[in-house]
Each structure stands twice: as C-alpha cells, then as structure tokens.
Amino acid sequence: MGHTDERDNNAPVELEFFAKPDHLAEVRKLVERLASKTRLSKEELEDFLTAVDEAAANAIRHGSPNKERSLVRVICHTLPDALIVEVRDQGQGFLVPYSPSMPGPEAAGGRGLPLMCALADTIEIASTPKGTTITLKKLARTMAPASSAEPNGQRSAL
C-alpha cells in the first residue's frame, strides 16, 4: 500500500491500495488522523468518515475491473475548516443519478451514494469509461467563515 508523507501540513496525502475491503479501515484511520488538523467536530468527522468509506467501498466493489488487482487511490486535502477527499478507481464508469434518494429500509442495497450525499457537504462525481473520481468535502460548521480557501472553486450539483 502506497502512502505519502503527512509531515508537510499543506501537501495532499495520498493512499493507494489494491481493491480489497480490508483496506477500508486504513482509509478511515487516515482521514481520522488528518481531521485532527481541522476544526471538524466529532460528529462532523464521523459523518464524513461514513461518506468516504462508502466512496471507497464503491470503488472496491464496482470500480475494480481486475478485482483485487485493481488499484484505488484516495487523496486527502486538509484545510483548517474543511477536509476534502478524492476517491479514484479504474472502473468503467457509471451514469450518475441527478439526485440519488435513499432506498426504502427493506431494500437490499443502493444506500452508498445517498449516504455520501447526506453526510458530505459537497460531492462531485467525474465518471468516464476509464474510471471514476468522487470528491467529497466536509466543512467545520463551528468555525465556518464567510469565505474559505478551496483548492478549486467547483461546487457539486448533488
């Protein structure tokens, strides 16, 4: 598993791993470590961990044409009042629903994307036949200034 140095506070931190569910815990632990550099509350962090986990799990389950030999990349950007995480896979892409709704409680599945939308503040999905990138952002509500510096100015349609 590839891992970049976290000691440079301004540099994005990347994690690359083979598409195995065993790595989901490491993704969550990485995001949790980086969140200590932000002003996210415990609840905001837990919600964001759920969203990131769902994105990574989707990459493993649906975005890995070579199954456990496919690679998944997670890139984390830390800001004082926000955490931004990109999850990239090598899958064939999918048609992104405009407004994914939570399925009924007795549905077998389909909760991943709705949970991401509910628990991240913004979500951007770029999906092509060469792979999908899901970018999730969580803002620290307790200290939200009028304008926060963002690595890019794009807002999600979701």
Partner: protein
C-alpha cells in the same frame, strides 16, 4: 502501522432474548463475521424468537452492515424477530435513522428496553420468496 480491522462477536442472554454483541467496526470486510453469528442465533431455535444485535460497542457501520441486517431479516424474519441495541448519538444511530431502519426494526438503547422475548406474530417478516 498495523491497521488491522477486527470485529469481535460474542453471545449472551438477557431475559430470554438471545443477544449477539459486536465490538468493532462493521464494514464490507468485517460484516461476514457478524453474518455468521446472526445466522447461528437465528437458527438455534425452531420456535419463533427474538434476536437482538447489541451495537453499543460498534463505533462505525456502513451500508454493507445495513444490507446485512436487511438480508438477515428477509432470510429468517418468518421465525426470528430482529432488534437493535445502539449507543445514543453514535454513528450507527445516525446511519440507521438515515436508512429509516428505525421504522421497521425495534431499536433501543439498552437490553432492558427490549420489548420482550417474542412480540406479536405481526412483528415477524413474511418468509423470503
């Protein structure tokens, strides 16, 4: 760094109710451990009975864990009533509510709050088709 993700499961009985207690994160990699424990508890008796999942020491559950609960209910709901025990203001509580699991499963905060070993027959799900 060792980031091993292990889910521990043990069983106990509370006032005639079989309880499967989980410790650790329930995600795509660990849900199989919980699945086996629930399958065992749901089939240990032939008579209708209740099985509660004690998740007070589960700090995290994702949609794979939710899907497991749905699956267990569908497969065994004709004779086994599933209930959940959760910690208040926890991640599992928020995720279960987002998924509206509190509308079709008994959800409480302690074993003492469980409604009893077996509720009315209407509480059982129809057999899986």
């Amino acid at each position: 760094m060792n980031d091993e993700n292990v889910l521990l499961v043990h069983n106990y009985d509370h006032d005639g109710i079989s309880i499967v207690a989980a410790q650790g994160d329930v995600d795509l990699s660990t849900q199989e451990t919980l699945r086996k424990a629930l399958e065992s508890s749901c089939t240990e008796q032939n008579a209708p009975h209740k099985v509660a999942v004690d998740m007070r020491e589960v700090p995290f559950i994702d949609s794979a864990g939710l899907a497991l609960l749905v699956e267990i209910r569908k497969r065994f709901g004709h004779k086994c009533q599933l209930a959940l025990i959760i910690a208040a203001r926890s991640q599992p509580e928020r995720v279960l509510k987002l998924g509206r699991f509190d509308t079709f499963l008994e959800v409480c905060y302690s074993p003492d709050e469980l409604s009893g070993p077996v509720a009315s027959s209407s509480a059982f799900a129809p057999p899986a088709q």
